[in-house]
Amino acid sequence: MKAMLFRWPWLTAILLGLLVGLGAAAVAGENPAHVLLVLLKAAGGTPYDLGMTMVYTTPLIFTGLSVAVAYRAGLFNIGAEGQLVLGGLAATAVALRLGDLWPAFAGSSGVMGRIVAMLICGLVAAAVGGSTGFVTGYLRARRGSHEVVTSIMMNFLAMALASWLVIEKLHSVDTQNPETRTVGNVFKAVEFSAFDGAPVTIWFLAGIAAAGLVAFLFDRTMIGFRIRAAGENPVAATVAGIDTGRQMIIALTLAGALAGLSGLGDILGGAGRFRLGFSSDYGFTGIAVALLAGGRPMAVVASALLFGALHKGALDLDFETDHVTRDLAMIIQGCVILFATARWFHGKKKS
């Protein structure tokens, strides 16, 4: 038991988190076994349920990676929420504009066209998210403003800017909801049909690929090594001739770019338009995802899947139980993170 605690601290954290959550459900008057069953069934009982879990997982992979990249450089990226809104909105705006200029292209559905469209949207979203991250990185590295403070502030700026753009500039005339027009067919993300209509898009696979790329970057390349060195021991890195400020800027820009991509699965899949408030705090849940994964890119995928499943599973608690609601997921999430970070403390004490 003790060996397991130390070898797989993340598993310990998950189990303890579940235990506390189910304990809370029991106190509220539910049968914990029933609650657990509802959670499991709702998260993956049918292909549709599994598909919805993957839909929720997709943005969390990107935001989790975003936070993990910054974490490797010894930084906290709280700005993922704003970055994903701006990145998603920019991609939508570009797609709409291109649709106006070349209606024929926007209406087409050829494979090559869709690949080009996906690349365009991806690049725009990453560029806009990345520049938002760059601002935070620049302020931290060259002006000394703490990245937590500036990235939180950037979130507010991003939300305000997005509201103004959606309502004043890009608003659809067909609806009173705060949303844009629908993008052309070619820009809609490829969806998998195996999930009974759950809009699982190609961006889920893109997320896994991104995790692979980030892992490669940190494990194999000098760029990743320099960021790691600057994060693990900035003083020693400076003595060795590494410009740590530059590494901070690179890391936060990369983090911003990854966060910028997070919204594309939701926006371009399904509805095909940008809706204000489409993100249910993906950016902030990404922090939890990265913490549980200990900043390791491939573990971020697994961690995102867990949080996605929890999110989906908890939705059914509203209907299937009498005394608890979907908020139980928040209790479990919170406890998992608490136990996952307690592990760090333990490690520090030991050394």
Binding site: M222, A229, E232, N233, A236, V239, G241, I242
Partner: protein, 533 residues
């Protein structure tokens, strides 16, 4: 006057106090920090406690102040045995300590600090009483502190007065001052020493820890010298009456501090290869390091050169600019307006370069002042740490991990780093092995210049020998070495020349005599700021 309210200031006042340390010993792992330390101090005297870095002064004072518990030995307070399990217990017993780094809240005023501590011993105290008694203490001790100014607006000297006032308010009768004059400007020193005398005359027992021997000699009636965790000598001025000056002088103290261990094994390390090296020296090549009239407004003013195949030692009490000198060469401090002069490494001017550009311009090996914080990634494996060196930082895209792992394995074998074949975190290696690994990484890169700070600090004897041999071998290979060390034996054994740094300047240069080596006593004197310069 309401005597009860004032009792915190008056408790014990007039009554004399005597503290005696008897045979105190403390070991940290294999390192014996204190070995049978005994001395005493009593009301009405200032006791000087001097010794080199690592001589055991801090450990000793930390035991007296309850920070750490001794392995062996006792503390007697007024001839009664006491045990302090925490600083709080020591404070309640009347022992106060003024740390070298002040413990003050910048936004609070002086009087607020005093109110905070006044209730520590005797319970709540009326604000007015704290002020009136503080003013009285200040008057009798000659303090000129503004009680209502926030600490951030007080000069360092006045902050120090506040620290002393704080321990008096806590009811301290024995006051330990750790390097109090290190933070003072030269003009502040004389008034400070005068205040110490008044403190002594008011019945306090004062223990003064200092590196500055002239100041210690001015105010201390008795001086205890520590070396390698033991008492190396006790000098009493009072006993000898008129002969005080002959008994207690900078020379005798410096000798006691440094020790005259002629049998030092270290000396042998440098002796043998020094002959073969002569051909390399002054071969007309470009100096490995040439600093011409370099001036940095933070108080560094240096002019020196290190030739190829030469080891130049820097002696000096720590904090006299040695670390700044390294940083200036490596450019790890930002450039400053008013910075002037030139620093050439192997012929390349570096003053206007960034740290990365310096490392590209010339091959420099660095053994930094603090290996853990400045040299290694403690959580990473040896291969990653090999990469963290200015010399190997090449413009690769991919990291050649396989090659690095192999190289790390080979270095472990070649330098006898234990355990061989280690692939875990470098931070799990023992301190000595960490240092050996660092030496291996830095010296195996064919550097033109080696900057070595305390290369054998905290390293056992056998490993020290290996590190010395590596430095001497580098010299034989034509590398220039700038060696900073607080271990004079080490400096004398390895160096071809020794420069003494004091307050950011090179104040004296010593050459090696062919027969007798260096004049150790004169070096010690120069380090303390004495002697003809």
């Amino acid at each position: 006057m309401r005597p009860t309210k004032n009792k915190i200031f008056e408790k014990n006042e007039g009554a004399s106090i005597r503290v005696e340390l008897r045979d105190l010993s403390k070991a940290f792992g294999d390192v014996v920090a204190n070995d049978g330390v005994s001395f005493h101090v009593e009301s009405g005297e200032i006791l000087g406690l001097v010794g080199e870095n690592g001589a055991g002064k801090s450990t000793c004072m930390n035991m007296l102040f309850g920070h750490i518990e001794p392995d062996r030995g006792t503390i007697l307070l007024n001839n009664e045995e006491v045990r302090f399990r925490s600083p709080k217990e020591a404070i309640l017993a009347g022992i106060g300590m003024v740390h070298q780094h002040f413990m003050l809240a910048p936004a609070l005023t002086a009087i607020e600090h005093l109110r905070l501590v006044a209730s520590y011993k005797a319970g709540p105290v009326a604000h007015q009483d704290v002020r009136s008694r503080a003013l009285q203490s200040m008057k009798s001790l000659g303090f000129d502190l503004e009680l209502d100014e926030p600490v951030e607006r007080l000069s360092v000297g006045k902050q120090q007065q506040l620290e002393i006032l704080k321990v008096i308010c806590q009811g301290a009768r024995v006051i330990i001052l750790d390097e109090p004059t290190a933070v003072l400007t030269p003009v502040e020193v004389a008034p400070f020493l005068e205040r110490l005398r008044r403190l002594r005359d008011s019945g306090h027992a004062v223990i003064l820890i200092s590196h500055k021997l002239d100041e210690v000699l001015q105010v201390c009636g008795r001086i205890v010298v520590m070396r390698s965790g033991r008492i190396a000598g006790e000098f009493d001025g009072k006993l000898n009456g008129n002969e005080k000056t002959s008994q207690m002088s900078i020379e005798t103290l410096a000798n006691a501090m440094i020790g005259e261990s002629g049998e030092s094994l270290v000396r042998d390390a440098g002796a043998a290869p020094s002959e073969s090296r002569q051909s390399n020296r002054f071969s007309g090549g470009i100096p490995a390091l040439e600093i011409r009239d370099y001036h940095r407004p933070t108080g560094l003013k240096v002019h020196l050169s290190v030739h190829q195949g030469e080891i130049v030692g820097i002696a000096g009490v720590e904090g006299n600019g040695q670390a700044d000198l390294f940083k200036a060469i490596l450019r790890t401090v930002p450039g400053l307006r008013g910075e002037s002069g030139s620093i050439c490494v192997a012929g390349h001017e570096v003053v206007h370069l960034s740290p990365g550009e310096v490392r590209k311009a010339a091959r420099i090996a660095v053994l930094p002042f603090d290996r853990r914080s400045e040299g290694l990634m403690l959580d990473a494996d040896p291969a990653s740490n090999l990469l963290l060196s200015g010399v190997t930082m090449k413009n690769h895209f991919m990291v050649p991990w396989e090659q690095l792992r192999q190289r790390a394995g080979n270095l472990f074998l070649k330098y006898g780093i234990q355990p061989a074949g280690w692939t875990g975190a470098v931070g799990s290696l023992s301190g000595g092995n960490q240092q050996k690994f660092l030496v291996a990484r830095e010296l195996e890169q064919d550097p033109a210049l080696i900057l070595a700070a305390h290369p054998t600090r905290g390293v056992d004897w056998r490993s020290s020998q290996k590190i010395h041999q590596a430095l001497v071998a580098a010299r034989a290979g034509g590398v220039g070495v700038l060696l900073v060390s607080s271990d004079l034996d080490e400096l004398c054994a390895l160096s071809d020349r020794i420069l003494v740094m004091l307050r950011g300047r090179v104040v004296r240069e010593f050459s090696k005599y062919p027969e007798s080596g260096f004049d150790v006593a004169a070096i010690g004197l120069a380090m303390a700021g004495g002697g003809a310069s």
